[in-house]
């Protein structure tokens, strides 16, 4: 919230710069001088210290209050409350949905670890140089194109329902395994590209330096390039984490009894949507902290960088 409110000194600086730019060199200067009086006075009198917190709290209350008022006033308020926020139904379905949510968390953790590893492998394969690695580069490009090209839901249906029917003996045949595998493949394709952008952001001379010390291409990658590359893309990786946490629920289409599926069962039984709200609250409990963590890290990272290079 406070991020949206500009610091008190900025508004008067911003517009004057813009005016200077759009007016060309000579013209801009002229026009600016005619407004200098007003500019300077707003520059001189800085806003009082209570301005930022008070304005942000007041504007928040205004927006939230207006929205609540209209919802409160609407005829359907009672219906909404009955169908979505039914206290009794909430606690009725709570144990099953929470039980299912535990499976969501397990799938999420396992999938995320697998994604970070598979994607790294694919990205490194794609970044190898030299004719001898051509096949690996081609493989990784095919992998990325293929699994990024499918809608995730289609991949989940295909693998989750399809592969177990093949009855292949040397791979697990569970729906759960293949559902999670679909998630891993799709997210790995995206995440590999994230890693790759990180690898490419490390300057060529860093690679030369590492190679000139006698490190092999793989060692240069491992000790010189990747540590920098990963640090550069942690904000993007955190973003993927937040997104995966929600998409895990897609495996419910396979009949896997995770939280959304459990909620769905309850909804079908009671013709009331409150169980969905239970699931929604549970997801929010994870995704909001993750999103804040991601914001916090990204901001800190940006500050650290500007400090270093200015």
């Amino acid at each position: 919230m406070t991020d949206l409110t500009p610091p008190s000194a900025l508004p008067s600086i911003g517009p004057s710069r813009r005016r200077n730019g759009s007016g060309g060199f000579g013209g801009g200067r002229q026009r600016q001088s005619s407004q200098d009086g007003r500019q300077q006075s707003s520059f001189g009198k800085s806003r009082p210290s209570w301005y930022v917190p008070v304005v942000s709290v007041a504007s928040t209350m205004l927006v939230v209050g207006t929205a609540s008022y209209f919802i409160w006033q609407s005829n359907s308020r009672q219906l909404v409350e009955q169908q979505f926020f039914n206290r009794e139904k909430f606690w009725d379905s709570f144990p099953d949905v929470v039980g299912g949510f535990w499976l969501n968390i397990q799938m999420f953790v396992v999938a995320e670890i697998a994604i970070l590893l598979v994607a790294l492998l694919v990205a490194v394969m794609r970044s190898l140089r030299g004719p001898e690695f051509f096949p690996l580069r081609v493989l990784s490009v095919i992998f990325i194109d293929l699994f990024r090209g499918f809608p995730l839901i289609l991949l989940i249906l295909l693998l989750g329902f399809g592969v177990p029917t093949l009855g292949i003996s040397y791979v697990p045949n569970g729906v759960l395994f293949w559902g999670v595998t679909a998630l891993v493949l799709s997210y790995s394709a995206y995440t590999a590209e994230v890693y790759r952008s990180g690898i490419e952001s490390v300057s060529e001379s860093q690679r030369s330096s590492a190679r000139s010390l006698g490190l092999t291409q793989g060692q240069a990658m491992r000790y010189a390039i990747l540590p920098q590359a990963v640090r550069n893309v942690i904000p993007a990786l955190l973003n993927g984490l937040v997104s995966l946490q929600k998409d895990v629920a897609l495996v419910s289409v396979l009949g896997i009894r995770e939280s959304v599926r459990e909620a769905q069962i309850e909804v079908a039984r009671s013709f009331n949507f409150t169980p969905y709200m239970v699931a929604a609250v549970l997801f929010l409990l994870i995704s909001i902290p993750l999103a804040r963590l991601s914001d916090w890290y990204t901001k800190r990272d940006r500050e650290r960088r500007t400090q270093t290079y200015v």
Binding site: S209, R211, S212, L213, L215, T216, A224, P227, R231
Partner: protein, 291 residues
């Protein structure tokens, strides 16, 4: 030992240094070295020998049949206009670029084209670039020892000892656990030189290591380079620091037109340059106040 073999020009057109001549023993330079009074050994294998090296980027020919011989203990300064190919030459020697034609010998072994293990070669050379290139995620100690630990497979304790030794020598002992971003440019380049020297390379390649530095930081790096030269380190140095070249170089090579256009002892090149191009280059430097 190499004080007098520079006078016969390294000019590509003069030297019938056949590319197929894989045996440096029959090199036409050798007889000259034999007669060298300062050379106690009858014949010494060149540290590095470039034979008719061609290198182009796209249709831009940068090196056009360049020949160069570096003897052990030589400090060779490569001078020439910006873009004349000094960096390219050094990168070729370090096998960071592949040659179009010609060959490079390192201690009697052909290393380009078609070396089997380029890392084995690089381990015996050190190179420092113009841009500040320490690994930003590693501290000074880790920067110094990465090559030792990973490429040379030297134990942690030995590597630490070596690093401390070099840092002490370079007056950087108190920076051992600093990260590069907290060092001045001059300190970074000194650590980079230390990182290149710590593996006891046979040859040190320096590519305009002071060009990216603020003027007040140039001196400390040049002093270090002089110290290394005095210690007998074989060096191939691309530089714009003519003062350094005059004072330290055993031979100065002026690169022009993709070859070593003229080479000789510093007093010859700077005092009585023979070709018009060299004279013109030096005149430009004088105008710019850099000579």
């Amino acid at each position: 030992m190499s004080s007098n073999h520079g006078t016969h020009g390294e000019n590509a057109s003069q030297e019938p240094n056949a590319a197929e001549d894989a045996n440096p023993d029959s090199d036409p330079i050798a007889p000259q070295d034999l007669s060298s009074p300062s050379d106690p050994i009858a014949f010494q294998e060149p540290m590095v020998e470039l034979v008719s090296v061609w290198k182009s980027f796209g249709d831009k020919e940068v090196l056009r049949g360049l020949d160069l011989t570096v003897q052990e203990g030589d400090v060779i300064c490569l001078i020439g206009a910006s873009g004349c190919g000094k960096s390219t030459l050094l990168r070729c020697v370090n096998l960071l670029e592949t040659l179009d034609r010609g060959s490079i010998y390192f201690i009697g072994t052909e290393i380009a084209p078609g070396v089997v293990n380029d890392n084995a070669v690089r381990k015996r050379m050190g190179i420092v670039f113009q841009s500040l290139n320490l690994f930003p995620h590693l501290n000074v100690l880790e920067n110094m020892t990465l090559g030792l630990r990973v490429a040379h497979r030297i134990s942690k304790a030995t590597a630490l000892e070596l690093a401390k030794e070099w840092l002490a020598r370079f007056n950087l002992s108190d920076k051992i656990s600093e990260y590069p971003e907290r060092l001045s440019g001059g300190q970074q380049q000194r650590v980079a030189i230390g990182r290149a020297m710590i593996g006891s390379p046979d040859l040190l390649l320096l590519d305009e290591v002071t060009s990216a530095l603020d003027p007040e930081l140039v001196g400390e790096v040049l002093a270090l380079m002089k110290e290394l030269a005095a210690g007998g380190t074989t060096m191939l140095v691309a530089t714009h620091e003519m003062g350094f070249a005059k004072e330290v170089a055993s031979r100065v090579c002026f690169i022009h037109g993709g070859v070593i256009h003229e080479s000789g002892r510093p007093e010859e090149i700077f005092g009585s340059p023979r070709t018009e191009e060299t004279q013109r280059f030096l005149a430009r430097l004088r105008e710019g106040g850099r000579l």
